[in-house]
C-alpha cells in the first residue's frame, strides 16, 4: 500500500481513519494516500463504507449528529480536523458532487454556477462571469448553455444537470473534488461524457470518485481502492488492482464473483 508519510505527491494523507454512527463502525482504521492531480476510484459492495469514507474527507458526515470520527486526515499537510479549522473552510478546499444531481431549483444556470462565490462574498460581475465560463468549459457544458445562462437550471437534461453541479463545485476553485457515484443515475451517453470530463479534470484537480461501476473505475481512474465491510482491503494503481490484485477478495470482487 502507498502509505509513505513523506509522499510529497499526496494531496490527502489519511491515517487510522475510523467513522462511527452511534456504536457501529462504518469505516475501520483506514490509512491511504491520495495522489495529487490523479483520479482515485473507491470501489466496493454497497454498505462497505466507501461513501462514508468520502464524506469524512470533507467533513460532510458531521451533518449526521450520531457520526463520530477517529484518526487524522491532512490536506497538503493541513489537518482538516484541527480544532482551529472550520468545516466551512475545509469544504471550500474540498468540493463534492453527489449521486443525484441537485441544481438549486430556484436559480438560473448562471446563478447555480456562481452561488458558491456569491454566498461567500464575491460581488464583482467580471469575476463571476469569467469564473462561470471557465467552470462551464471545464465541465464540458459551456457550448450547450452559453446562450441561455438565465434559463432555470432544472430545464436542463439529467446529464447536463450533473455537469452543471460539477461546474458549480469547480467554480469555487477547490483543490480536491470528491464524487459520490456521479454517473450512476445517468444514461450511458451522459455517463461517457462525465467520464471524459473526469479524465480531463485531473490535470488541475485531485479527484476521488466512488463508483459501483467496475468499467468506470478501470477506464477513468489512476488508482483504485477496494473497500469491504468498512476496511480498506487493497489500494494501488488501477491496472494492478484489475489485472493482478494481491488479495483474493479484491480479485473476486473485480471479476464479479461477489458484491
Amino acid at each position: 500500500m502507498v502509505t509513505d508519510p513523506n509522499n510529497s505527491a499526496a494531496a490527502l494523507t489519511v491515517r487510522g481513519l475510523s467513522v462511527f454512527f452511534g456504536e457501529r463502525a462504518a469505516v475501520k482504521n483506514v490509512s491511504i494516500d491520495i495522489t495529487a492531480k490523479a483520479v482515485t476510484a473507491i470501489i466496493g459492495p454497497s454498505g462497505c463504507g466507501k461513501s462514508t469514507f468520502l464524506r469524512a474527507i470533507n467533513r460532510m458526515h458531521e451533518l449526521n449528529p450520531d457520526a463520530r470520527m477517529e484518526g487524522e486526515i491532512k490536506l497538503f499537510g493541513d489537518d482538516i480536523y484541527s480544532r482551529t479549522v472550520e468545516s466551512v473552510t475545509v469544504r471550500r478546499r474540498i468540493g463534492m458532487v453527489f449521486q443525484k444531481s441537485n441544481p438549486f431549483p430556484t436559480m438560473s444556470i448562471f446563478e447555480n454556477v456562481t452561488v458558491g462565490l456569491r454566498l461567500n462574498g464575491v460581488r464583482d460581475r467580471k469575476i463571476l462571469a469569467e469564473r462561470t465560463e471557465q467552470s462551464l468549459r471545464m465541465a464540458a457544458l459551456w457550448d450547450e448553455v452559453k446562450d441561455r445562462m438565465n434559463a432555470p437550471a432544472i430545464s436542463l437534461s439529467g446529464g447536463q444537470q450533473q455537469r452543471l453541479c460539477i461546474a458549480r463545485a469547480l467554480a469555487v476553485q477547490p483543490e480536491v473534488l470528491l464524487m459520490d457515484e456521479p454517473a450512476s443515475a445517468l444514461d450511458p451517453l451522459a455517463t461517457a461524457k462525465i467520464e471524459d470530463l473526469i479524465v480531463s479534470l485531473k490535470k488541475d484537480y485531485t479527484i476521488v470518485i466512488v463508483t459501483h461501476n467496475m468499467q468506470q473505475a478501470a477506464r477513468a481512474s489512476d488508482f483504485t481502492a477496494f473497500f469491504y465491510l468498512g476496511e480498506l482491503v487493497e489500494f494501488g494503481p488501477t491496472t494492478k488492482i484489475f489485472t493482478s490484485p494481491a488479495q483474493k477478495r479484491t480479485e473476486d470482487y473485480v471479476t464479479g464473483r461477489f458484491g
Partner: protein, 283 residues
Amino acid sequence: MTAPNHSWRNFKNAFMQTLACVCAILVVAPLLLVFYHLIKEGFTSINWAFFTELPKPVGEVGGGMGNAIVGTFVLLAQAAVIGVPVGVLGGVFLSEYGGTKLNWWIRFAADILNGVPSITWGIVVYALLVVPMHGFSALAGGVVLGMMMIPLVMRTTEEVLQLVPGGYREAALALGIAKWKTIVQIVIRTALKGIVTGVLLALARVAGETAPLLFTALGNEHWTHKLTEPISAMPLQIFAYAISPYDDWHRQAWAGALVLLLLVLSINIGVRFLTRDRFQQKA
C-alpha cells in the same frame, strides 16, 4: 357448482358508494348554504357607503362599517408583524437546528396551543396587556391574533421546510457555504411559496376571530387613530349588529359577514394560485 349470485354483493357496493357520495355532498353543502344566505340577506346592503362610512346611530338608515374593515386590516398587519417572524423562525429552528427531544416538546406545545380555545387567548392577553395598560386597545387585539398565528405558522413552516430535499442542503454546504446562508438562500428560498401559503392561511384563520377581540380590541364606533385606543374589527361589528334588535343593523351584519367571507375566500384562492404554480414548476 351453482352459478354465484352477485346481487347481495352488488347491493352492498352500490349502498356504500351512495353513502360516500352523500357524505361528500354534505361536506360541500354548508359552504353553498352559507353563501346562499349571505348573498340573499347581505348583498343588497353592500354599497360604497358600507366600505367608507362609520356606523349610523340607531334610527338612522344607512352608514357602513368602514372603520371595522380598516380595523381588521390594522389588526391583521400587527398580527403578521408578531406572528410571521416568530412563527417562521420557530419553524426554521424545528426543521434545521433543534434536537429530536427538544423538537418533540416544542411541537407538542405548538399543537396544544393550536387547540387552545380562542377565548382563552383573549383572557390571557386581557390580563397581560389590557389590565396593565388600563384599557382596551388595537395593540392588544393585534397581539392576541399574532400570538394565535405563531404556532400555526411555525408548524406549516416546519412542514414545508422538511419537504425541501436534503440534497440541496448538502450541495450548498459542500460548496463551503455557511449553514445560516444555506438556510436563508437555499432552503427558505426553495420553500418560500409554501411558507407564504402557510402565513396566508394563518391570517385567514385569525381574520375571523371574534372572541379574543372582545377582551382586547373591544370595538369602536369611530375611526381609530392610535394603537392604544380600542379598535373595531369586522367580526366584532358583525357580532354587535347581529345581537341588536334592529332590522337595519341585521342587514349590515349580513353584509359584513359576506364581506368577511369574501376576504377569507380570496386569501384561500390566492393560496390555491400559489400552490398551483409550485406544482407546475415541479413537473
